[in-house]
């Protein structure tokens, strides 16, 4: 059912995205772009050592991509880089692991992100839900490159 996709919490984050706007103290960033629909997102991070201390995003997209970006920023504020990576893997499994995803649905680590389980039935929309996450990973992998964002260690 369509209500599985557009749960109240997703609609709420779409209407009032959290951590939306430029992040003044950001030291990492990356853009995500979905050429299929033209959705754009920029994810900005403040990384301190191996910890993500602040996350913000900007851009325009559908409800699924906006809510996913918004909820990601909440989820990852305060997480270590390793925790962010493992969260992405769990989230990705949740969206793509067919109907054998019951294990993930009980995944306590994911918490509220489990509302995106409904996206699984809409393969064309998986990219919407993962767009901000891909940008986040690109921002994190900037480390060691000569890009504009670089941290101490």
């Amino acid at each position: 059912m369509i209500e599985d996709l557009y749960q109240d919490i997703i609609l709420d984050h779409n209407r009032n995205p959290r951590n939306f706007g430029p992040l003044a103290q950001a030291n990492r960033s990356a853009r995500g772009y979905n050429p299929l629909c033209g959705d754009k997102v920029e994810v900005q991070l403040q990384v301190d050592g191996d910890r993500i201390t602040a996350v913000g995003f900007q851009g325009s997209g559908c409800a699924i991509s906006t809510a996913s970006a918004s909820m990601m920023t909440q989820k990852l504020t305060g997480a270590t880089i390793d925790e962010a990576e493992s969260m992405f893997a769990r989230f990705h499994d949740l969206l793509t692991e067919g109907d054998a995803g019951e294990a993930q649905e009980d995944d306590e680590e994911l918490g509220e992100l489990e509302v995106f389980a409904g996206v699984r039935r809409f393969p064309m929309r998986v990219k919407c839900a993962t767009l901000a996450w891909h940008a986040l990973r690109a921002a994190l992998s900037d480390q060691g490159e000569e890009g504009p964002v670089k941290t101490e260690a």
């Binding site: 059912m1 369509i2 209500e3 996709l5 557009y6 109240d8 609609l11 709420d12 209407r15 299929l36 629909c37 033209g38 959705d39 754009k40 325009s60 997209g61 559908c62 409800a63 699924i64 906006t66 809409f122 064309m124 929309r125 919407c128």
Partner: protein, 421 residues
């Protein structure tokens, strides 16, 4: 005579929607448990039984390669293929069948002109002129050609309503302009461009005109002679024919001057390792085994459309579009994108605060197929200040029930997004 009001009264008599729908088996399937309302005809049209049966008949009883063998089936297949060429020639009112080149689609037809007609003579500082409302397939081939030659791609502007600014276009045609390439009907807005007028103005400056007719061929009578253009491109799959077959019509005297763009079998007169001479058009442009069955299927599709009488198709579609526009205008939160003076086939719209992709997913579950996105016209989206639109596009089998389904589905979209707002 006002065609709109007279057609409104007489259409039901001449136009038997149930009979047409009966010709398209796919329309009776359900999608997500709902009756299918197929409103994505600008992307591709569904196929009538007549087309599929023509393919089956050809493969089961006449198939062979063309232009090669002396055996019976090779002759039959060649005949069928060349009859299809003549059939397409009649569809666009070409002076002669040899002006019809079979391609994979509109995209390949445009690329053919870019590579074979434009590129060989394109020098630094030369210009190709297109418009803001072009499909990517009428932008990128010219970018490639211009880049290679150091030439310049220029873009004629449109109004906020989505109409071509034809005086501005004319003023951009100069000594350096080598070609004007313009869409006949916009796939994103439905704008019908005044091709005859554009051709007249371009020709008065000695500049040839290519028309991208991908969205016009399914809806308008095409007469290349009265349009006065030099090339006309369209795709089979958008006129109820098979995929993988398309058409370039070109003026014979231009085709004759053009070198081949691909080399291979079938396009040569004689080959030696020292020198190869090429066949006359259209064969010069059809290297290798062509899409023989595609041409046969396309021919059957054109027969099918012509039997319906394209004027009655046009009246039916115009009436449906007028009704839909009216109802969308009255729907709270819906904004029409583009208000062209002449429109056919397509309506683009957005809903306040709701991304087109979300609209697309929700209406899909109601059985309504529309397209959402940039429709391969990103520069046009930029010009209009949107990233995407929702687009309903119409075909010969659409009726009021499809429009009802769309509007009910849009209500559903609003109720989902209105929750707790």
């Amino acid at each position: 005579m006002n065609p709109k009001t007279t057609d409104r009264k007489t259409t039901p008599l001449r136009f038997d929607l149930d009979r047409i729908r009966g010709d398209f088996p796919i329309l009776s399937r359900e999608v997500h448990g709902r009756r299918l309302a197929y409103l994505d005809n600008a992307a591709s049209t569904q196929k009538p039984r007549a087309v599929v049966e023509a393919l089956e008949n050809f493969y089961f009883s006449e198939y062979s390669n063309v232009h090669r063998g002396v055996h019976y089936l090779s002759q039959r297949a060649t005949e069928a293929f060349e009859n299809a060429r003549a059939r397409v020639g009649r569809f666009v009112n070409a002076e002669r069948a040899e002006e019809i080149v079979f391609t994979r689609g509109a995209t390949e037809a445009i690329n053919l002109v870019a590579r074979s007609f434009a590129a060989p003579h394109l020098g630094p500082d030369d210009e190709i002129l297109i418009t803001t409302m072009e499909h990517h397939s009428n932008i990128v081939p010219w970018q490639l050609a211009c880049e290679a030659a150091g030439a310049r791609l220029r873009v004629a502007p449109i109004s906020d309503d989505g109409d071509l600014e034809i005086d501005r276009l004319e003023s951009m045609i100069g000594d350096k302009t080598r070609l004007v390439s313009v869409v006949h009907v916009s796939n994103s807005l439905g704008t019908v461009n005044p091709i005859a007028e554009i051709a007249r103005r371009a020709h008065s400056r000695g500049v040839p005109v290519l028309v991208d007719g991908a969205q016009a061929a399914p809806h308008l009578p095409i007469d290349v002679q009265s349009l006065g253009c030099d090339f006309y491109a369209f795709s089979g799959h958008k006129v109820y024919g098979p995929t993988g077959i398309g058409v370039l019509w070109g003026r014979h005297e231009l085709l004759e001057q053009m070198p081949p763009w691909q080399g291979g079998g079938d396009m040569i007169e004689s080959v030696s390792f020292e020198k190869t001479t090429y066949r006359e058009p259209p064969f010069r442009f059809e290297a290798g085994t062509p899409n023989i069955s595609g041409a046969v299927g396309l021919s059957a599709a054109l027969d099918y459309i012509d039997e319906l009488n394209i004027e009655s198709v046009r009246a039916h579609e115009a009436e449906l579009i007028d009704d839909t526009l009216l109802r969308l205008e009255q729907t709270e939160g819906v904004h029409l994108i583009g208000r062209p003076a002449r429109r056919c086939g397509v309506i683009s719209f957005n809903m306040e605060g709701i991304h087109p992709h979300d609209i697309g997913s929700i209406v899909d579950l109601e059985g309504v197929a529309i397209r959402t996105g940039h429709h391969c016209t990103q520069p046009l989206m930029d010009r209009l200040g949107v990233t995407a639109t929702a687009r309903a596009s119409f075909g010969i089998y659409n009726g009021r029930d499809d429009v009802d389904a769309l509007l009910n589905a849009l209500d559903k979209v609003r109720s989902i997004f209105g929750k707790g707002g």
